[in-house]
């Protein structure tokens, strides 16, 4: 099963409204993506917590419909 990049971006922004999201389809197969997510809500949180917030926004699709999403998260530079 695969997911559209636009759908991933939409879900992340729905869950984390201020997020800046950049998505790259790594293999062009709609199944292996890399996402960079920048949000002020990540400030002061551990990487595990930041990634959990993104997974939460994806509402259980990660690991199911979406096999691989390489994540890089950060808070905006002050």
């Amino acid at each position: 099963m695969a997911m559209d990049a636009g759908e991933i971006e939409r879900l992340i922004k729905q869950g984390i409204p201020d997020a800046q999201v950049a998505i790259e389809d790594l293999r062009g197969d709609g199944d292996h993506y890399a996402a960079t997510v920048v949000s002020a809500s990540f400030a002061g949180k551990t990487r595990v917590r930041q990634h959990q917030m993104v997974y939460q926004a994806l509402k259980g699709r990660m690991g199911e419909q979406l096999h691989a999403l390489a994540l890089q998260t950060s808070a905006p530079a002050a």
Binding site: R47, V48, H51, Q52, Y55, G60, M62, G63, E64, A68, A70, L71, Q72
Partner: protein
Amino acid sequence: MTNNPVIQRIQQDISGNDVVLYMKGTPVFPQCGFSAAVVQVLSELGVKFKGIDVLTDPSLRQGIKEFSSWPTIPQLYVKGEFVGGCDIVREMYSSGELRELLQTRGVNTQAA
């Protein structure tokens, strides 16, 4: 505490071993590129770890995801604490944070 036998087993494994990697396949024969990448990082750091293959047990494969609220495998635990999946482990390795974390927790690493 929990009565769920899978969760109990996870708790035993991560408290009884300094470094535990839940992975697809075994350290010698990883079955997934992401698991293989974490095995490689741990080998480069010269860290002894226990690899647990989730592919041999569907209840464990599901249970570990619920245990950590983390949807993917691999998952790395150091001294009972969830450190992260493949992306985080690789990022922490390149920044030197992973070696620092292991040393702070008293886990032996070999000088590279």
